[in-house]
């Protein structure tokens, strides 16, 4: 009994804030999704009209497709590169503080600066990537001017931006692995790759689950990089769900319709996250 009270007591302060500023606005927007809300005035109840329109809107389907493709590329890449760098940084060598700070820098630099750099690197005429391609004998690409490649450039841009986060999370988790366990493994004669694969990775599984869930939630809500670089183009190739929500809400002033799309996104994310937790239950070992 006291465990119930204790649990609620501990959880309440944070819960109040998160519910007040997180859950209540969501309920609000769900209500809005059943209304027609022109700019500046109150809403008019229109039943499920927004949802019926949503079901027939080709842009919604495209946006979902783009978002899924993006997520499927972004999440694994960031986790793998982040893990690799974290393992590399998890040692006492000179300059290690500099390397770790370098990872933090990527998260601190604003999206606009990040986008400008990548717009330059991937410029079809003046960028380094095409320059390198030319040197290697590969054909020149149009990158952000190509409907088929633009999303790929966004993937690279955001993997760069999030690697630091993955590194920091994995570093914190690596700190939690007792040195004794690693020592025992090498005393058993295991090489460092075997140790890594059979001991480190499983011990990192809670962090991996956390990263997978958090990166996926963020990937499904991709917006900033699209907003500052391609604005959903070319020809809608990088229009992802949240960018379409923004267009509907803040460019076309259809707050009701935007809320309906947002609810759809919430449901998609809940389902994906639930699946991830389910898989996690099978593969993640908490050391307790």
């Amino acid at each position: 009994m006291s465990e119930h009270i204790g649990g609620w007591l501990f959880a309440t302060p944070a819960t109040v804030i998160i519910v007040l500023f997180g859950a209540v606005p969501i309920i609000w927007s769900i209500v809005l999704s059943f209304e027609h809300v022109p700019l500046g005035s109150g809403g008019r109840f229109i039943g499920t009209a927004n949802y019926r329109e949503l079901a027939h809107d080709p842009v919604v389907r495209q946006a979902i497709g783009h978002t899924f493709i993006y997520t499927a590329l972004f999440v694994p890449l960031t986790m793998i590169i982040g893990l690799f760098l974290a393992v590399a940084m998890n040692r006492k060598i000179r300059f290690i503080s500099f390397y770790r700070t370098a990872a933090y820098v990527t998260m601190a630099v604003s999206t606009i600066n990040e986008a400008l750099v990548f717009l330059w690197l991937f410029d079809p005429s003046y960028g380094i990537v095409n320059f390198a391609a030319h040197a290697l004998g590969l054909p020149q690409q149009q990158f952000l001017n190509s409907p088929s490649e633009a999303l790929g450039v966004i993937v690279v841009m955001t993997v760069w931006g999030w690697t630091g986060f993955a590194v920091i999370i994995y570093l914190a988790a690596l700190q939690g692995i007792p040195q004794s366990v690693l020592d025992a493994s090498s005393m058993d004669g295991a090489g460092s790759w075997a140790t890594f694969r059979r001991i480190t990775v499983p011990l990192l599984s809670p962090a991996s689950l956390f990263l997978a869930v958090w990166l996926t939630i963020n990937a499904l809500q991709l917006f900033d990089e699209v907003y500052v670089s391609t604005q959903g183009g070319p020809v809608g190739a990088t229009t992802v769900i949240v960018y379409y929500i923004y267009q509907q809400g803040f460019q076309y002033f259809n707050a009701g319709y935007a809320s309906a799309i947002a609810l759809l996104l919430l449901i998609i994310t809940l389902v994906v996250t639930a699946v991830q937790f389910r898989i996690g239950r099978r593969y993640v070992n908490y050391r307790s």
């Binding site: 009270i5 501990f10 519910v19 997180g22 600066n113 630091g164 700190q175 929500i245």
Partner: protein, 292 residues
Amino acid sequence: MTAITLPPRQRCRLRLPFSPWHLVLLPASLLLIFPFLWMLITSLETQNESLHFPPILVPHKLVPANYPNAFDAAPFSHFFVNSIVVAVSTVVANLVLCSLAGYAFARLRFLGRTALFIVLMATLMVPFQVTMIPQFLIEKWLGVHVLAAVGINHLGALILPNAATAFGVFFLRQFFKTLPLEYEESARVEGATRFTVLWRIVLPLSLPALATLAALTFLESWNSFLWPLIAVDSQNEMTLPLGLQTFQNAHNTQWPLLMAANVMTLVPMLLVFFFAQRYFVRSVASTGLGGA
């Protein structure tokens, strides 16, 4: 775990005067900080040289005066203080509130735990563009009916909505679950209250996670733009990201000044992180408590 016996491998020992990991980390780090270096270079250029494409990486003329000029263009010292107040308050609040909640979700079985956790996680799944206007209205109401200090156009309005986030709760819950139960159980057997267990056992063992959460929360708060944009109505309450608007117009951006201001905004964050490195390293070596 099965004992793995492998024959000793013959290695060609290449004796380098430094660890071979530098060969990986140095290029990777340079790649990661390249945009920051570019910001730095642009911040020292003249306006004319900044208007080049492809960008000039080796300027002909360096203008360190960009820094004091940028600083004087708007009351940046005031914005800096505001940003610090908001960021530190947010970090402290998060550490306290999310530790409590994270521990509850990790270790305590209480009625409705799973449902509540789902509700909290759900708040992470809706983009801010959708929730910002209702959040604004709630803050406005609170400012009028509850406490003026948290109303619109007060720093409290920048702190309160982010004083606890589902991210912090989720993050610490995952971390707490990895700690060996034995410590906490033996303390409970000795008669400690749950709070004492949290305070004296779990938290000291969680310093890397707490430091990580602090760094990430600080970063998020420091760089936050959209919420302060709509919640702040007067220059007095502006934070640094809002102050950066001074240099940026739809058509005419004063790039060197903007980059100088950006660097000045970034550097404190990096210094804090750099010197806080030791908290990220395990300060209590986990003991061999009979293996994993």
